[in-house]
């Protein structure tokens, strides 16, 4: 009972994604149980052993604070990696190279990085690359649309279901991460739907803003992540609004904002 309530206290104090939280708690539980068992073998009662182990482990506040700090802040390198696709988009569109071979190489590169890194581990920075790799997959669908309509339809449905599955797994892990994977396909999906119009200078600057926001997101603490996350959604809305005329773009942005705010409320409690 004492050990369980110690673990539950830590659970309440950790500000981590659900998978990170479960890993931390599993490791601490194993430590606690093994040490209690050892003390019990030495002649202590279960309760005496639990009290001793909990005392040896230390303050739940101190451990949770340190763990929150370690997990919250990404490195400079991770921040650069997360923002790189947006920065390259900014360069491509500001230099008018979006229909150039460079754009295709860039898009292909994002798929390679997303597959290679995402296969073994999934650090948060790779989610931007995953988002961009979906852009290429969607683009192929739009190309097929004019050539073989039934095949394009089947392909489109497959890519959309794959995208939704990925987003759901990200939501389950940490809703704050949704904009990282969702923003690129939503921007470019709308762009393709509108027939790839030329971006306005302010829209191009939006990519630069997203690059900066991504860096802050990776390096910032939990509170900074919430603010950046909502700002990313706001920038997404502005970009989509400037590209498209339909109001449909508002739906994913509002859904994302709701999920993020819900998570923030849960964390506060």
């Amino acid at each position: 009972m004492i050990a369980d309530s110690w673990i539950e206290r830590i659970r309440g104090l950790l500000e981590l994604s659900s998978s990170q939280k479960e890993e931390v708690l599993c490791e601490l539980s194993t430590h606690l149980e093994e040490e209690v068992e050892e003390l019990e073998r030495g002649g202590l009662s279960g309760e005496e052993a639990s009290i001793k182990v909990v005392e040896a482990l230390g303050s739940t506040e101190e451990i949770a604070r340190e763990l929150n700090q370690v997990y919250a802040h990404g490195s400079d390198k991770e921040a650069i990696l997360a923002s790189l696709p947006y920065f390259l988009s900014f360069l491509l569109f500001s230099l008018g190279l979006e229909e150039n071979m460079g754009a295709l190489i860039f898009a292909g590169g994002t798929v390679i990085v997303a597959v290679l890194v995402g296969r073994t581990a999934r650090p948060p920075w790779v989610l931007t690359w995953m988002g961009y790799s979906f852009v290429l997959l969607f683009a192929l669908g739009f190309l097929l649309w004019d050539i073989i309509f039934p095949l394009a339809l089947a392909y489109g449905l497959l890519v959309i279901s794959l995208f939704i599955t990925k987003v759901i797994s990200v939501v389950r892990e940490d809703p704050y991460l949704i904009p990282l994977i969702s923003v690129p396909p939503l921007i470019f999906g709308e762009w393709f739907l509108e027939g790839t119009p030329e971006f306005k200078p302010l829209t191009v600057l939006g990519f630069l803003a997203l690059a900066v926001l991504c860096s802050i997101f990776i390096m910032g603490g939990r509170r900074a992540k919430l603010i950046v996350c909502l700002t990313q959604i706001f920038v997404l809305s502005l970009i989509l609004g400037s590209v498209g005329t339909a109001g449909l773009w508002a739906l994913p942005a509002i859904t994302m904002a709701c999920l993020v705010l819900r998570e923030a409320r849960v964390e506060q409690h």
Partner: protein, 109 residues
């Protein structure tokens, strides 16, 4: 013997890497090994070990792998990386030079 917590804080990475370098170890084992090898000298709050291990993992000095036990529990084992081995080697050399200089100045054997 009393030592400053700042002194220990500055040496945590080296101490943990030295233990992990010998054999892959898990959290509770590290606590026991540390107690045994330092002959009870190092006493610290065991829970603070985990943030330190996470920091080492973030710096890519160690990696961790989960193993399922027969009891149904899961243990996280830590392994030193090549980067970690190099870091440890540098830190040991740094410590050797530093402690030698302190001993010379303080007139210790």
């Amino acid at each position: 013997m009393v030592y400053s917590s700042e002194l220990l804080k500055g040496s945590v990475d080296t101490i943990l890497l030295s233990l992990i370098a010998e054999n892959p170890v898990y959290g509770y084992q590290i606590v026991r090994e540390l107690e045994k090898k330092s002959q009870g000298y190092f006493v610290f709050k065991e829970g603070t070990l985990y943030p330190a291990l996470r920091r080492l993992e973030r710096k890519r000095l160690v990696i961790s792998k989960w193993e399922d036990l027969q009891s149904g529990r899961k243990r996280r084992y830590y392994y030193i990386t090549d980067q970690g081995s190099k870091f440890l080697k540098d830190k040991k050399a740094e410590w050797q030079g530093f402690s030698l200089a302190i001993n010379l100045i303080a007139g210790l054997p």
